[in-house]
């Protein structure tokens, strides 16, 4: 039984932790909140130097080719620090889209720039309020031209490239979908900033008017390709969520030990003790589910869809709970702008929505259970 990260991976995690606790303090997050800038450019530059974006990108595409387990430990630390950088969109979603659907030429052309952070990339799915469904996709990709509108695109203000879920034929269903790869630095591609619940992660509306774009992957496979990408991203994001949830527990504990009421630390009141115990239990379960997801992702196991859904649901529940009860444990000050609690509360929701709602993932999970039990 060897169900844990290796010593090397743990060492990488420690290094990432040390680096981020210096370079990505709550002050840095606050700076992005209050400056109105879309991300922390200085931090992004240093992450580029560390080569983190290329952790799981094979060496022949300019990555470090370390693998997904290494990327998972980095993700946990980024989540812990609430790093306000376009990492998840660029690495978990854009790069993985290329790896899943890209042609050899496309990978050769773009992945090295991703690995070096020269390119910020994103994945544009939603076109309005509600679930992303094949039949709701109105953006079209015909003869190399992209037309339509995408909303709530994370890091859309800074992305140089986007993978866009579009309709490539008259087929109004799943089979008609096509992933399009588009360079956003062209007249036909416009972007507009959108306000979001998490000011440390920028959102944008992207509008395409006869924008030049290229096909990514085969038509008809777009939907299944997209879901393969989302499964991978779900595992990686689960580590960010587990990291965030763990910090919330530590913050709540730290404050409860310091804060006195009625002549004793509030950490000695059962209401607080049991609240934190509940957080601990949820966090442990989420971590274990995330580990299984990491195993499935790193080995390309056929259990990945189930493991990814379980990791996603478990981590989302844990971070939601830890973030809101961390504020509650702090009381009034926890709800002030000056305290950092609300950064985690907002991020927990943002991550919980970014790859689709829990409902969608729970449904995927049970579908996988049905398949695995079908035999």
């Amino acid at each position: 039984m060897n169900f844990d990260f290796s010593d090397d991976q743990k060492m990488l995690k420690d290094q990432a932790h040390k680096f981020l606790s210096e370079k990505c303090t709550p002050k840095a997050v606050r700076a992005v909140y209050e400056s109105g800038s879309t991300y922390d450019r200085a931090l992004w530059k240093q992450i580029a130097e560390l080569g983190w974006a290329g952790t799981a990108i094979p060496e022949q595409y300019g990555g470090l080719g370390l693998g997904y387990l290494e990327l998972c430990v980095i993700a946990e630390e980024l989540g812990r620090a609430l790093a306000p950088v376009p990492f998840s969109s660029t690495v978990y979603q854009f790069a993985e889209s290329l790896l899943v659907s890209g042609s050899e030429e496309q990978k050769q052309r773009l992945l090295p720039k991703v690995a070096s952070c020269e390119i910020i990339g994103t994945l544009a799915r939603a076109e309005g309020v509600g679930a992303v469904l094949p039949k709701n996709i109105r953006t079209t990709f015909r003869n190399g031209k992209l037309n339509g509108k995408k909303t709530a695109v994370v890091d859309g203000m800074d992305a140089g490239y986007a993978v866009v879920l579009a309709r490539g034929s008259d087929d109004a269903g799943e089979r008609g979908l096509q992933l399009a790869l588009v360079d956003l630095k062209q007249a036909g591609a416009k972007r507009r900033a959108q306000q979001s619940i998490d000011p440390s992660r920028s959102h944008a509306e992207l509008t395409f008017e006869n924008a030049n774009a290229e096909a990514l992957g085969k038509q008809g496979e777009a939907w299944s390709d997209l879901n393969r990408v989302l499964d991978r991203a779900a595992v990686l994001m689960a580590f960010e969520q587990v990291g965030g949830a763990d910090v919330c527990l530590q913050m709540a504990k730290g404050y409860a030990m310091e804060r006195y009421a009625f002549g004793r630390p509030i950490a000695s009141f059962q209401a607080i003790k049991h609240k934190l115990a509940d957080m601990y239990v949820a966090n442990e379960l989420a971590r274990s589910n995330a580990y299984y997801g990491a195993w499935a992702l790193s080995t390309g196991a056929r259990e990945l869809p189930l493991a990814a859904a379980a990791a996603r649901v478990s981590a989302t529940q844990a971070f939601d709970f830890a973030a809101k009860e961390n504020i509650q444990t702090h009381g009034g000050v926890g709800f002030t702008w000056e305290f950092d609690c609300h950064f985690y509360y907002k991020r927990s929701r943002e991550l919980g929505l970014a790859l689709g709602a829990q409902r969608v993932w729970k449904d995927k999970l049970v579908t996988q259970l049905e398949l695995s039990n079908a035999a």
Binding site: V132, T151, Q195, S196, I197, D198, F262, P265, Q328, R359
Partner: protein, 411 residues
């Protein structure tokens, strides 16, 4: 069992309606609920005008005796007036709620005739606004742990310290202030209550920015603020007993928090508009279960209120039912709005203009943590239910008999 007025109630309701028709316009559409902390100059001016009008008729505080400007009416008549007033497009008089709901009753209970004569009417008319200065950074749920010092200096007291979570301080004229006058006795025994002008030299008001971005509360700093002993309310060292009078009223005031009107109807509406995997969200069994779970809570609270009003209507003291409202409402708002955001999908992360309904659910979700804390945290309210309603014993109080300056503070 019915929902009808008694003949007297019906008569009073008719009087109120007639007066409102003569003095205000019925609401055009349904009430959208007032955004918290929206209290700019103009709306305050309008509020004061409307409050003055109500005061002339005795409607500003229906249960108060006529002598002090009330109507000498019953609590039920106050309820009826509120119900009717809510149907009219009138200014939000929330700015006077704390003053009339908590401060002035305390003044009336502990101040002399002349003081009462001087301050009650202006407050009633909205000419003067009062705020309540109890909570401190050092004493949140544990109010009595406050540290703001008042030291005797001849016929005056010199006050130094700070208060926090004060609503409406920025536009208040007066406040009631709970201070520590003797740190060498146990915490409840060394407190003294005063009232003071918020314009007094040494008083500084700073707004507190909340996680939601709003600034409904203030922090108040006192630097050598001089208060004449004549402005003391109650005896020296009796401040806690005086404060209990005030706090008793607070529970009632805060108790009924509704969470800005976001509830099942809005969620139902959303579920009908949205398409999810298997069709309209409203047809999804999981969505239906959630809606049903939240509906029974909302309906349960609504009919609990009816039971309370019935007690009032029968001239009885309402039971403790009221104390459950905020616990239920605050968590429901947090969960319901989070669920709504999930229905909205990835676009659920958007706020403001780009969000559905200008981000109503997002705002609800952002303000919910505050609602779970302000006016008593969920945990404190459960203690209150356990102790005052169910009669369970208090938790062990290690600081009960310890001199305040010897009690553990962790600092």
């Amino acid at each position: 069992m019915d929902f009808e007025d008694s003949p007297e109630e019906a008569k009073f309701r008719a009087e109120v309606r007639a007066w409102l028709d003569a003095n205000a316009k019925p609401k055009a559409s349904r009430d959208t609920g007032d955004a918290l902390g929206e209290d700019d100059k103009t709306s305050l001016k309008a509020a004061k005008a409307w409050q003055a009008k109500k005061a002339e008729k005795g409607y500003a505080r229906i249960t108060w005796p006529k002598e002090v400007g009330g109507l000498g009416g019953t609590p039920m008549q106050q309820v009826i007036f509120n119900q009717e007033e809510a149907k009219y497009d009138v200014p939000n008089t929330g700015a006077f709620a704390i003053g009339l709901g908590m401060c002035i009753p305390t003044v009336m209970a502990y101040a002399g005739k002349d003081v009462i004569a001087r301050y009650v009417k202006p407050a009633l008319r909205g000419d003067e606004i009062w705020c309540q200065l109890f909570s401190e950074p050092a004493g949140g749920s544990d109010v009595a742990a406050l540290r703001t010092r008042a030291e005797r200096d001849g016929n005056d007291w010199i006050v130094n310290g700070s208060k926090v979570w004060t609503t409406g301080a920025q536009f208040s004229d007066y406040g009631i202030l709970l201070t520590r006058t003797d740190p060498t006795v146990p915490k409840h025994k060394g407190l003294t209550m005063f009232y003071l002008s918020m314009k007094s030299p040494g008083v500084e008001v700073r707004p507190i920015k909340q996680a939601s971005g709003a600034s409904g509360f203030n922090e108040i700093f006192f630097t050598n603020v001089r208060i004449p002993d004549s402005q003391r309310l109650g005896e020296v060292g009796q401040g806690w007993q005086v404060a209990l009078t005030t706090l008793m009223h607070e529970r009632l005031a805060v108790g009924g928090g509704t969470g800005g009107g976001l509830d099942v109807p809005q969620l139902l509406q959303l579920a009908r508009e949205l398409e999810i995997e298997d069709g309209p969200a409203i047809k999804n069994a999981a969505v239906r279960e959630k809606i049903a779970d939240w509906y029974v809570r909302s309906a349960g609270l609504k009919y609990t209120t009816y039971r309370t009003m019935t007690a009032l209507s029968r001239g009885q003291q309402p039971g403790p039912e009221a104390s459950i409202a905020k616990i239920v409402v605050a968590s429901k708002l947090q969960d319901l709005s989070a669920f709504a955001m999930e229905l909205e999908g990835e676009a659920g992360a958007l706020t403001g203009e780009d969000a559905l309904d200008q981000g109503a659910f997002q705002m609800g979700w952002l303000s919910a943590p505050g609602l779970r804390i302000a006016g008593g945290t969920d945990e404190i309210l459960k203690n209150i239910i356990a102790e005052r309603v169910l009669g369970l014993p208090q938790d062990i109080r290690v600081d009960k008999d310890v001199p305040f300056n010897k009690a553990p503070t962790g600092r």
